[in-house]
């Protein structure tokens, strides 16, 4: 089983990385780029197909892989 997790800064939270990349991209000649947000992408390989895997992964995302105070996450499972 494979899981993909995207962790992004919350919309209302400042994303200095995104701002820096946006400025660089605009500088690079793509002035049509209005905003960039930068987050993390994680690919997780899991042995077996445990029934509770999804619930446990959500727990993991909340507790360990993201900080709900400033980030949102999105979990996708590929069986």
């Amino acid at each position: 089983m494979k899981a993909k997790v995207i962790v992004m800064p919350k919309q209302s939270v400042l994303d200095p990385q995104g701002v820096a990349v946006r400025d660089a991209v605009q500088h690079h000649g793509m002035s049509a780029v209005k905003s960039v947000r930068v987050g993390k992408f994680m690919e997780i390989e899991i042995d077996g197909e445990a029934a509770d895997a999804e619930a446990r992964l959500h727990e993991l995302c909340r507790d360990l892989l993201s900080n709900p105070v400033i980030e949102d996450y999105e979990l996708t499972l590929e069986r």
Partner: protein
Amino acid sequence: MSTPAITPELIAKHGILPDEYERILRILGREPNYTELGIFSVMWSEHCSYKNSRKELRKFPTDGPTVLVKAGEENAGVIDIGDGWSIAFKMESHNHPSAIEPFQGAATGVGGIIRDIFTMGARPVFSMNSLRFGSIHGEGERVEANRRLFAGVVAGIAHYGNCIGIPTIGGEVYFDDSYEGNPLVNVFCLGVLKHEQIARGAARGIGNPVFYVGAETGRDGLAGAAFASRDLTDESKLDRPAVQVGDPFREKLLLEACLELLATDAVAGIQDMGAAGLTCSTCETASRGGTGVEIDLALVPKRETGMTPYEILLSESQERMLIIVKKGQEACVREIFEKWDLPYAEVGVVNDDGMMRVRNQGEIAAEIPARPLAEDGPLYDREAQAKPLPEPLDLATVPESDCRAALFQLLAHPSIASKNWVYRQYDHMVRAGTMVRPGSDAAVFLVREANKILAATTDCNALYCSLNPREGARIAIAEAARNLACSGAVPLAVTDNLNFGNPYKPENFWQLRECVEGLAEGCRAFGTPVTGGNVSLYNESPNGAIDPTPTVGMVGLIADECHVTTSYFKQAGDAILLLGEVGHELGASHYLKAVHGRKEGAVPVMDFDREKAIHGALLALIHAGLVKSAHDCSEGGFAVALAESCIAGDAQIGAEVELAAEKSQRLDVTLFNETQSRIVISVDTGKAAAVLSLLKERGVPGQRIGTVGGTELKIGAAGKRLAWPIADLHAHWYGSIERAMTDSPPLALPVA
């Protein structure tokens, strides 16, 4: 847009008490609108108004021959260091934000204190930090949470400080259960400036334009000041908007741009936007200038759309400053901020009616007399209830433990163990001025532009303060001064960070008062005025209040580069001397806590005269070129100090000593007591006699106790002898924190 009606519930929700609301009505002569209520709530929050501590803070000595700007007058006090140069330094806490988001909480704390310093016109040259966490040893969810907080805070401080290029050269870290869930993150920054470069946070010059510079305003940390003024509960975790994200890169640009602008003649006043952001900076600059300030929020650079006046005024977005520019010099601001690619906007003007007037698209959103808002907040005398001082320790109840094992245990205790896991993550060498790196008693920094050598340390033994707040605070000052003396420095001034529990609990308030008075006594004794500081109350977790922690940051001056002294032994054959007594006070000791699990007993007595006599003698010896190393005895007493002198240097080296202790005194008492005013020094053997006679002349107790050398630490006292291989001592001490953080088992005790 409709705004909420002002109801008693809304008033209460803003943390404003009925009496305080009456005061607001008197100041305004009418009801406040929603935005004005928000403004009062942040300005009169504990964090901004110090309403429960200000009366106590007045007890600090703030003046002295070297004081150029006094505490409280400006963002940070300024102290003369000679030859036309001066320093500005201060300490500030970011405890609650760090509890919620350790990385960003700590990072933005660093950003805030740096802004406080360059607001004064000073170039920040180094930082320190004083940290407290729950236990990181052992297993379980709580321990793991403590580790995550610790790791996150250290990484956050590193992130901000390293990126902005200000070396973090010292600090302290302690671990105790009382900080579980409510870590302390106190950050210190020092800057250097010429006397004539002192900048003022006042809105002077009617008609002068007011500029907003730096990062755009977003809905960050809405009402963070109010947040810092409440107890931490599990619900605080849901206080999402209270967390701010820092951008050290922006701050670096802001720092350079502001210093460049200050070097021109264009600035009439400058103020950082810290807690309560735009609100605080506008009304404070107006109040200090005896003027009014009028701004239009429509002109403020914003990151988000649809922000209300309330949100804009209360936002705590980071990396922003307010600058009052001399009329006609606006182009200067434009040129510099464009060069640095930073947002800026002319948002208002200084006027003469004493009002803080905030417009939004021209329409008035808030209109409050600036001075009463900034200065006439409520001030309280809280009820204080003394806690009985602890009974002296009954030694009979303390089984004498295996002293050999106890020393290993103490050295591996994370509060005593080497902090290399922490300071290796901090760039402590940028600016090429760090003469003594972290790991000695005080950090020593060469300020190249001024050709001055500064020493700095932070200290506070909160265990002492929890048992006897006054004596604990007195000792904090004395210990800081002692650390400076051991580095060859004469103390100049002090900044403090008062971390306490909820002041509405009479016992907590009593602790605050006792600690303030204790610090004040210490400052008077050492002639070190307080240049400023910070109060953090409501440090409570579900388990109760933290141990009272009045952190002291002290800065001293080293007259000559040959006076710079470090804490570790240099050479085999050198004589080891003990300045001070062998000591006997085991109460409140770290040994009792770490080995016997007891936080109790009478706190050691601090006699300032005795302490100062020792510092004076040590400095005289250092000035005479006689001292090769000097290390004070603090947590863990003599044995730990001696072991540290063997293992804290780049090369480890053994020592053999014999202590002239009373025959009847137990060995654990002799080794681990924490009697104050003791310093272990090493000197050239050939000069030991000269040193002893100098001590005698000054009436300072001192004795030769042994010799540096070998691969073991050997201590004898009252007929008993113990030996520890240096390599083992080093291993227990050096890697302890890393082992805890990687969840590796502690080292086994080496067999004798």
